[in-house]
């Protein structure tokens, strides 16, 4: 991938420089960059990490240089911290080590309103100023929530100072300045940390990751990050019903050539994906490539019941998935969910096993035996660089089964 001018411009934001200087100035090995541990974190998480990194420095003697910016590429970092949306390609490509990845917490989005007490609701329409929103991959969901707002009413920024000064803004809580903060329903960011493959200070980096996962680290992070909400434990019961046969599938020729997991049969049955501990090495998944799909026969019938009705299990990151459903293998297939982020953590399964849930309600059909699962990442195959391009499907489960 090439680096765009805007990407290059972002590499050293004022916030980044300030934090770097702050961290350098507070360590017991202050100024001793040689031998220092380098951590690269996106703008939203950097303020959350700072107290924990300071504590680690005091307790371990290791200076930690905090480099602020998108974790991909990690540059000279030993450890990267980013949202799912920023980490997926790093982890799948083996640039960061999936086996060491750990979730640190979630970070909600808030509306910042200055002055406090301004009318609630439709803030973007009512605000006299531009609405400021975070740029970069981590801000994509927030920007989507502002769709329809005229371009001259929108300001996209990754400058920490500008974000904190904004009178009307939609920001991760960690970047919100003064004024009234109102909880937004934009999907919270998930802070995931991982060791960079080939890190020059791997042993110290592992020690830092252990510190961040330990009671002391978690306690310090908890002042800024919330506990991660996992999906309801509705799935995976003893009576669970999973896809039983493949009806149809397609992967673009480019994806068939470059990807390593093209067997549609791997989506059948209960979740069984395994990361084998080596870059790009899995068992039990089908990668959907650029816009590929697999259509399955559930044999049992999913019905519109309480809560979501169908669950798709997807491995690593939050690659979006589109789901269609039908009562016959020939269709017509009805759209159930378009490009749904598929990154909800699944209780009781490995850290890399995620899922997304779909509800038949409002689709015009009340039951379905056949479902088509389509890649929603839709990333150019030729630019891919991994053998797991597209959403990586492990299993499809009926959550509400027709008796």
């Amino acid at each position: 991938m090439t680096t765009s001018p805007s990407t290059a411009r972002r590499l050293w934001s004022p916030l980044g420089v300030a934090l770097l200087l702050a961290i350098l100035g507070s360590g017991t090995k202050a100024g001793a960059d040689r031998g220092a541990l380098h951590l690269r974190a996106s703008e939203a998480f950097a303020p959350c990490l700072r107290p924990a990194l300071d504590a680690f420095t005091r307790e371990s003697g290791w200076t930690v240089v905090l480099d602020v910016g998108e974790p991909d590429p990690p540059r000279e970092a030993d450890v990267v911290v980013g949202d799912d949306s920023e980490m997926t390609r790093l982890l799948e490509a083996g640039v960061a080590d999936l086996q060491t990845s750990v979730d640190l917490g979630s970070l909600p989005w808030v509306w910042v309103v200055v002055p406090p007490g301004s009318p609630p609701g439709s803030l973007s329409a009512l605000a006299p100023d531009r609405v400021v929103v975070l740029g970069g991959r981590a801000g994509r969901g927030a920007r989507e929530s502002l769709q329809g707002l005229a371009a001259d009413r929108l300001r996209v920024s990754r400058d920490g100072g500008e974000l904190r000064r904004a009178r009307y803004a939609l920001l991760p809580r960690s970047l919100a300045g003064t004024g009234e903060h109102r909880r937004s329903d934009v999907r919270p960011l998930i802070a995931t940390a991982a060791l960079v493959a080939g890190a020059p200070h791997a042993a110290a980096a592992r020690r830092l990751l252990a510190f961040l996962q330990g009671d002391r680290g978690r306690g310090l992070l908890s002042t800024c990050l919330d506990a991660i909400e996992t999906g309801a434990s509705k799935g995976g019961s003893a009576q669970a019903s999973y896809a039983r046969s493949v009806v149809d599938w397609w992967l673009p020729d480019c994806s068939l050539t470059h990807d390593g997991y093209n067997d549609p049969g791997q989506v059948l049955g209960a979740p069984d994906a395994v990361f084998l501990g080596v870059k790009d090495s899995y068992r039990g998944i089908m990668s959907l490539g650029q816009g590929g799909y697999v259509t399955v026969d559930l044999v049992d019938t999913a019905v519109d019941g309480p809560g979501p009705d169908i669950r798709v299990y997807q491995v690593t990151g939050t690659e979006p998935v589109t789901l269609y459903a039908a009562s016959s293998p020939q269709g017509p297939f009805v759209l159930v969910g378009l490009r749904m982020d598929c990154g909800t953590r699944t209780p009781g399964l490995e850290n890399y096993e995620h899922h997304c849930d779909f509800d038949l309600r409002g689709t015009g059909i009340s039951e379905a035996r056949y479902v088509k699962v389509e890649d929603g990442e839709i990333y150019p195959c030729l630019a891919g660089g991994t053998i797991t391009e597209g959403a990586d499907i492990d299993a499809i489960e009926i959550l509400n089964k027709k008796p």
Binding site: S4, G135, G136, Q147, G148, L149, L154, L251, P252, I378
Partner: protein
């Protein structure tokens, strides 16, 4: 479908985007036959920046249109970020090749000026974007 094409992306009007259409010079070629025949359509000069991978069957194209994190620069000097599924009937162009004159596009698009951040001029998820892929 093969040869030179002009791709037009038309954001859903409900998105309130500052442009009505963005166009890109593309090249198309057949791509694979199994499990279904496909067509690959790539941006001239920077093929991996904007890639279309279609299943081509029954006079219909259906598949993913995607850009990288850097987006793709249009003929109108606007940058587009795109992750969407396109569907369109193939009709015969004047020179006998296939083309799509009315295609539906479902998914994500974002706009910016050439050096902007993604979405600086707006972001929109919709089932009602449109595209055309005309022979040139």
């Amino acid at each position: 479908m093969a040869g030179r094409y002009l791709l037009q992306i038309l954001p859903d009007r409900g998105c309130n985007m500052p442009v009505t259409a963005l166009s890109f010079p593309m090249g198309a070629a057949a791509a694979g036959t199994s499990p279904h025949p496909g067509v690959q359509v790539l941006l001239d000069g920077e093929p991996s920046a904007l890639e279309l991978e279609f299943l081509a069957e029954n006079a219909t194209l259906r598949g993913g249109l995607g850009t990288t994190g850097d987006g793709a620069l249009s003929n109108e000097r606007r940058r587009l970020w795109l992750h969407a599924i396109g569907t369109g009937s193939v009709t015969r162009a004047a020179d006998g090749r296939g083309e799509v004159v009315t295609g539906n596009l479902m998914g994500y698009l974002a706009l910016g000026d050439p050096d902007d951040d993604e979405g600086a001029l707006g972001t929109c998820n919709s089932r009602d974007h449109a595209f055309t892929l005309r022979a040139r």
